[in-house]
């Protein structure tokens, strides 16, 4: 709160009051978060090829912690190297990485912010396989290639499923050992958990396919394994897609409905989850997640990094590159957005899930306006919101709200250029309207690389033979 904050004509009430729901702590079973704002999972390719995190990641996370949010849900953290979405993201598949995560946790905690590690596995949704993965099809619930990019995959055997369940449990244990505040299972947006959950993707005939009970078995097994590994006192939340909308490629099946997801959320609660994080869509990106624009010029400049990743990517590249073909993709993509708001796009679905569970519910989807967030929480659509793009644009967004502003002076435009640049360029805001010039934008992108200039001379036993 600051006395010098400019008066916001949209919020004549002035600075937020002490009982502003946004800044009211959120108490989970095993975790207390100082406010209702979570930094949603987002990252860049700034970690090492072996999966160890770098100072850049620490800088990245601290940028948001300093901005005043209550907790950070880490970027996608693979529990196995074969589960990476993009090479260059930190993993948690090795015990010797625990100290790195410990350092990161301490850094975030220094800003009075909690850190929740998002445990993940890409399954077939692997954008940039990297040297570890490019020579093999990824593991999935199915052997059908991914619908949008044509990523290849192979259905996991029961042994591989069990191995992966164990990997999640170990990942959670490493997070706890690193002193982090909890873990989130990324069971939304098309990754491995979704590939099991979705009726539009899962075509298995064993106990992990067919009925919703069977399709949810993998997720619930992971929850049980984690609870068995780390106990009941370590925070565990699950991010699910409330509705799959799996037919972005028009001939695909629609996938799970809201009622199915409500059932899944209830099962998660019963299995030991402490919170449900509600998203949308059975692939990522998806027209409804993150909602907003789609810059053909941007993706034309970056999608080439993915052309070798799938068997349909060249087709997509042509659709992106040539204006005459763009209307085809534009129709397929934007037909699902009609009539849907950008901010709070998943509010209704979150409300339905919150009504069905007793644990807190976090909603994601374009949140940026304080008044809308207050309304959503007060109306019991959710208990908190998670935000990525709006915080990239304004990492100190909570401070604007605390100062009584409904929106920051230069809000996120939902252009999605940050997302579309991710496969190729550093993470950050790429909205040209928000910068005086290109150099200013690049300067913003480089801030997280402001690491320690001191280089160390390795000791002889530290140098690989």
């Amino acid at each position: 709160m600051t006395e010098n904050a400019p008066q916001d004509p949209a919020n004549p009430a002035g600075p937020a009051s002490c009982d502003d729901i946004i800044f009211t702590p959120l108490q989970f079973n095993n975790l207390n978060v100082k406010n209702r704002i979570f930094r949603s999972s987002v990252s860049g390719r700034f970690d090492n090829e072996d999966g160890s995190l770098t100072q850049t990641r620490i800088n990245w996370e601290c940028k948001f912690a300093k901005g005043g949010i209550g907790a950070i849900v880490s970027s996608y953290v693979p529990v196995l190297m074969e589960g990476r979405i993009i090479a260059g993201y930190a993993t948690v598949h090795r015990d010797d990485f625990i100290p790195y995560w410990q350092t990161l946790g301490q850094a975030v905690h220094s800003f009075d912010c909690k850190f929740i590690m998002q445990l993940s596995h890409s399954g077939r949704q692997m954008d940039v396989p990297g040297v570890h993965n490019y020579a093999r099809p990824t593991l999935s619930a199915t052997s059908k290639k991914e619908s949008l990019h044509g990523f290849l995959c192979r259905a996991m055997s029961l042994e591989e499923i069990q191995y992966t369940i164990d990997a999640f449990a170990k990942g959670a244990w490493r997070a706890r050992e690193a002193g982090l505040d909890g873990v989130e299972l990324h069971a939304a947006n098309g990754y491995l958990f979704t590939q099991f959950l979705s009726s539009g993707i899962n075509d298995r005939t064993d106990e992990y396919g067919g009925s919703l009970t069977n399709r949810a078995r993998f997720l619930l097994d992971v929850i049980s394994a984690i609870r068995a590994k780390v106990g009941r006192e370590f925070h565990l939340q699950v991010k699910i897609s409330a509705v799959d909308h799996n037919n972005v490629v028009p001939w695909e099946k629609k996938g799970n409905t809201l009622s199915e997801s409500v059932q899944v959320a209830q099962w998660c609660e019963a299995s030991g989850a402490d919170a449900i994080h509600v998203s949308t869509g059975s692939l990522f990106p998806h027209p409804l997640n993150p909602p907003g624009g789609f810059s053909f010029e941007t993706i034309t400049a970056t999608y080439d990094a993915m052309i070798s990743s799938g068997v349909s990517t060249l087709r997509n590249y042509f659709l992106f590159r040539y204006p005459a073909l763009r209307p085809i993709f534009y129709w397929a993509w934007f037909r699902m957005k009609r009539g849907r708001p950008v901010e709070g796009v998943g509010e209704d679905e979150a409300r339905a899930i919150k009504a069905a569970v007793k644990i807190p519910v976090i909603s994601t989807g374009g949140w940026q306006t304080a008044s809308k967030i207050r309304t959503a929480i007060n109306s019991k659509a959710c208990d908190g919101v998670s935000i990525a793009r709006s915080l990239i644009a304004n990492p100190n967004l909570p401070k604007f709200w605390a100062g009584g502003h409904d929106l920051p002076p230069s809000p996120c435009t939902y252009c999605n250029r940050c997302l579309l640049n991710a496969p190729k360029n550093p993470i950050g805001c790429y909205e040209p309207l928000r910068f005086a010039n290109h150099d200013a934008m690049v300067e913003q992108l480089m801030t997280i690389y402001n690491t320690h200039p001191t280089l160390q001379v390795p000791k002889p036993d530290e140098v690989a033979p």
């Binding site: 490019y134 020579a135 093999r136 099809p137 290849l152 070798s308 990743s309 068997v311």
Partner: protein, 524 residues
Amino acid sequence: MIRELPVTAVQEALHRRWRLLIPIYILLAIIAVLGVVCFILAVILLWQFAQNRTPHYADIVEEFKYGSIGTEPHSGIPYRIWRVLPALFPEDFGGRQDYSAFGFIYEKDADGRQRDLPIGISRRTYRNVDIVWFNCATCHTGTVSATTSSPDGQQRPARHIIPGMPSNNLYLERFIYFLLNAGADERLSPDSLIPEINKTGPTLGPPDEFIYRWYVIPMLRDGLLERRTRLFPLFAQQPPWGPGRVDTFNPYKLIQANMPLASLRQDELIGIADFPSIFNQGPREGMHLHWDGDNTSLAERNLSAAIGAGVTPDSVDFDAIDRVADWLKTLRPPASPHHPDAAAVARGRDIFMSQCRACHGLADSEGYTFTGNAIGQVEPNDTLGTDPHRLDSYTEKFREFQLANFFVGTPHQFKYFTKTNGYANLPLDGLWMRAPYLHNGSVPTLAALLQAPSQRPVAFIRGIDRPDTKNGGFEAPPCDPSAPPANSFCFDTRLPGNHNAGHLYGTDLPEAAKTDLLAYLLTF
């Protein structure tokens, strides 16, 4: 170049897919190549299919005689076939190698060689096939034979071709009979025609031979057989047309209007009449045109005549018709070759002025004058008394069909046709070359026309083009229809449609007055 192993799983999958799909890709490539070839061939074929061109002549007389009015596409005969028919059907051509056997007139070119096509036959390239058929000159160009003095003082016979004159030599019915019969003759099959066509050269190439074998010849035969089926039952109920005559409307009803023969009344089935002259069309605008005066519009009459010749609304060449029509407005007939006694002419003129002028204008040293109270008007046949068949052949039902179906929705839609009750009083310009007289050509000479019908020749030879200096008209010796002279047509006035009754004007004059009137008429 060393073939590298795939690096990524995606590459391996793509390689595998490529190997699996190679046959399909090859098939697609072949289809694509074939598609391109077919497209190119289709473009060429379409271009050829769209061909519709004809020679145009700077000289309007040449245009009249040889220029196209658009009859060829839907009515004509392929030129290459036209050329070989005399050789294939020698019995129909009387041993001649050209169509003069049917009265078509051939001219010589600048080198003194007979022209390829006769007068009245035009040529048009339609869908890349050269086709020939009728134009205005077919029915409106005749000949007059005369004896001329050569520079060496010798008397030599000469034959003058006169554009605009009735086609007094053309035996159109026989020509149509020949063609329709040829359609049913095995000699018009591809196996007979194509070798004969190649013999006349140039040899048909494989594509053209294919087109002729499978498209041109079958289409021609089908068309001829269809017309044969329609026209022969009509012809069977008509007397022979003879040279210089045509049934204007009945074939028109059956072919162009697609009316069944059974739908026609018995009394309309004989509409045979003489080809008319077409001089001085300008002054005729507004007069009742056609023998029965059924139309007062020159343009509409011209278009209707063109339809009779074979144009359709799709193929008609309005520009060509208009060009010829403009020229015909002022085309004057050659002066009469007769030199009757001047005093008799003067006396005859007085008689004419008192008894004939109102209906038929007058002629003097300035030429023909198109004035008269009743000139160009329809004289009821109850009064006139001539053979009614031609009048009856044009019916109200057919008039309604013409108005409702031809060029509907265009500026050319028919609207001036009327059903009359008689025959039109025609101007008499070029009278000397318009014999035989009356609409059906039933009276051979002017002198005979001044006789009572009972005294007019009962049967006479048609088709002689030597002027009769004494009686007016052309020589027309009497004949016996039951034993006609060889190579001549004996016209029998006793047959339906051929009656020579009526037009009694002047028949009751004293003989001297008739002689004077005839002298005056010889000057027309």
